[in-house]
Amino acid sequence: MITELEVKDVLRRGGYIADETISTAVFLALRMEKPILIEGPPGVGKTGLAKTLSEVMDFPLVRLQCYEGIDEGKALYDWEYGKQLLYTQLLRTQLDSYLSESADLRAAVERLSAEESLFFSQNFLVQRPILRSFLSEKRSLLLIDEIDRSGDEFEALLLECLSDFQVSVPELGVIPARNRPLAILTSNGTRMISDALRRRCLFLYIGYPEFDREVAIVRTRFPELCEGLARQMVEFLRKARELNLRKPPSVSETLDWAQVLSILHTKQLTPEVVANTVGVIAKHQADLQQVNDLARQILAV
């Protein structure tokens, strides 16, 4: 029996600083066995949450990266045609002798159809990520990444899997999950996810973190960075986010920058330091200029 506060602690041990909403979401997902749909701007730690969870909870991570045109052959299961063909070729002699015992053609067909299940068995089924995570020996973590890149058809395909944790294979029937995985879906919001899918999930929106939490994130990842610099850095980036940049710096940029600053042994932020390392924060030509201007405005003494 785990509680919400324990979830928070466990995540902290894994190096992920969660707020109440995130820890509550994880707690509920674990207890209610419901998938979480995470939305938010890129680089705020949506995928990071899943990775950390799989580490600290010791769930093997099964990752499914979505892209346009993904289908059930890539996500659920596929038949191994090659192997099926190979087996029929190799077993031809056995089949011949087996079928020669039957009196006429009709009996032969009946006899063969009785053995049909041989060729449509789990033996010839290639497990793709979703089925693999359903059938794993241990409870696993199923990460369906960037679901907004896939199409409507794929979303509809997920409905059955995520609400009942089962996969229907027409030739075999319904395969229920051996261990219900903790499912995490992430989306950057480039496309509206259908209401049907939203209804089956807990909806978690992760925005940019508050000041204290962001400082804490930097401090846990890079303890060698002094407190003052971390605070100064985060404050500067928060101002930069308000600038209406084409790609506002996210938490991942904060961490990259913190790494760069710790490698350079920086003690304090100055406009020169920002100018030298601006490529880590801003990712567009127009943004570089704006960030530099901001640095000159705020950091100049």
Partner: protein, 463 residues
């Protein structure tokens, strides 16, 4: 507990957040699990289970704060009557100041207050507030609800029902300023476009499936099926390479059509490079390309720039002949392939030289030419409208009145552009559409589908 959740869900629904019964069941189930302590985690729990859309989160926060602080004081800890008396003081003081100012010098008062609101009015309001009971408030609410949405702007086509001189006159006096798009309009447009994209994409996919016939590419098929022991499970066909359709759009931005152009620009902005190559131009007297701006600027910003007259001078009168000539000279030579050209405008040439030969040359180079006008058909022959002349060079002339029609036109155009792949399903689809559209442009120009034949031989034979 269930009852509290149900009431809370009702409150959410009243604010317009869609919560399904299944979701409220989830919330109850989640609460019964325990393991949570404090207000924040419980709020997070309710939000996670009940709200499934980012845009609904602020509304949820509001309802939550309101619902779970019932009977407590409001945020500022102020009584509503106190607030009102404070307001009265402010207004009184300001009026005194304003009068002083007026007696001293003829300057404007520092804070301009509506003359009709006086301190007495506010006091009356205060008295009313005290005597009022709740039922009156509810009644007013109901009445308001009845009127909501009925106050609509007059439809733009109304202008053109009057005769052109008065239109020009009235518009000259109050230059209609192009307002920036509201977030709702942007969201609406996004939705219209995404719906359109979904429809188109499905059809394109279906078309591609139908395309699985043709000559077999033997070598590639063998290569592809190597791992299946040369048994051809996967086929490879000889196919011509397709390219995205190219589109050129010319938009009139003069005042007479600005309301329609706004939406055309917005549509272009949303469509840009998602489905086809689009080059966009705007014109009044002169022509200017805005493709790079559409790609890089937020649409409201671009609209302001156009409105200020920075790109093309808006004070001139539109001159279609000149624009066509300029387009032919400067841009037509550089266009690759046979682009489809859309011209958006009312074809009111202000009695300039029509230069229709330029349009004819453009037509020769274009794969398809479509003219969209916001004007109703009845007024086409009045005044300086040249649409009959220009229209004779176009493949199609259409009236568009609103966003839906606009998006349908563009969708239609898309099908036409993909036409050279002509498959049977495609033809069937177009036949269906012909039946749906009673106002077919062909019947307008050729007057073929006008009167039904009086005598039908086949029917006669059956008798």
């Amino acid at each position: 507990m269930e009852r509290i959740i149900t009431r809370f869900v009702t409150a959410l629904r009243e604010r317009g957040i869609r919560v399904s019964p299944g979701e409220s069941l989830d919330a109850v189930q989640a609460l019964s699990l325990g393991g949570l302590s404090g207000r924040e985690p419980v709020k997070a729990l309710l939000r996670l289970t009940l709200v499934k859309n980012v845009n609904d989160i602020p509304a949820f926060e509001e309802v939550f704060a309101q619902f779970f602080s019932m009977g407590q004081e409001n945020a500022l800890g102020l009584d509503p009557t106190d607030l009102l008396t404070a307001l009265i003081h402010i207004v009184e003081g300001e009026q005194l100041k304003a009068e002083e100012h007026r007696t001293q010098e003829k300057d404007e008062p520092l804070l301009i207050i509506d003359e009709e609101v006086t301190a007495e009015d506010l006091e009356n309001l205060l008295a009313m507030e005290e005597s009022d009971d709740e039922s009156a408030g509810a009644e007013i609410m109901v009445q308001l609800d009845g009127h909501r949405g009925k106050m609509e702007a007059p439809s733009p086509s109304d202008y053109y029902m009057k005769s052109p001189p008065t239109v020009a006159f009235s518009q000259g006096i109050s230059k209609p300023k192009v307002e920036p798009f509201t977030p709702e309009e942007l969201a609406d447009m996004q939705e219209v476009v995404s719906r359109m994209l979904v429809r188109i994409r499905k059809d394109v996919k279906r078309m591609k499936e139908l395309e699985s016939r043709g000559k077999l590419h033997v070598i590639r098929t063998i290569q592809k099926n190597y791992r299946h022991g040369m048994v051809p499970f996967l086929l490879s066909l000889r196919r011509k390479r397709k390219e995205k359709p190219r589109l050129v759009v010319l938009c009139d931005v003069s005042y007479s059509v600005s309301h329609a152009t706004r939406f055309m620009l917005l549509l272009l902005h949303t469509l840009q490079n998602r489905l086809m190559h689009v080059r966009s131009f705007i014109f009044n007297r002169e022509l200017a390309e805005i493709t790079p701006m559409l790609r890089n600027m937020p649409v409201n910003c671009l609209l302001e720039t156009i409105d200020r007259g920075d790109i093309v001078n808006l004070d001139d009168n539109s001159d279609y002949g000149n624009v066509f000539l300029e387009f032919k000279k400067k841009h037509l030579e550089n266009m690759r392939g046979k682009p489809a050209i859309i011209i958006m405008g009312d074809a009111r040439n202000n009695y300039n030289d029509s230069k229709e030969w330029a349009l004819e040359e453009i037509r020769e180079k274009a794969g398809y030419m479509l003219w969209l006008t916001p004007e109703e058909r009845e007024t086409w022959h009045r005044g300086d409208c040249l649409i009959e002349l220009y229209g004779s060079y176009c493949d199609r002339v259409e009236v568009v009145r609103d966003v839906d029609e606009l998006s349908r036109m563009v969708e239609d155009l898309f099908y036409t552009l993909y036409d050279h792949h002509d498959t049977r399903a495609w033809k069937g689809r177009r036949r269906e559409q012909k039946h749906e559209e009673p106002h077919d442009y062909r019947s307008y120009y050729t007057r073929k589908g006008g009167a039904a034949p009086a005598f039908d031989a086949t029917v006669r034979r059956q008798w």
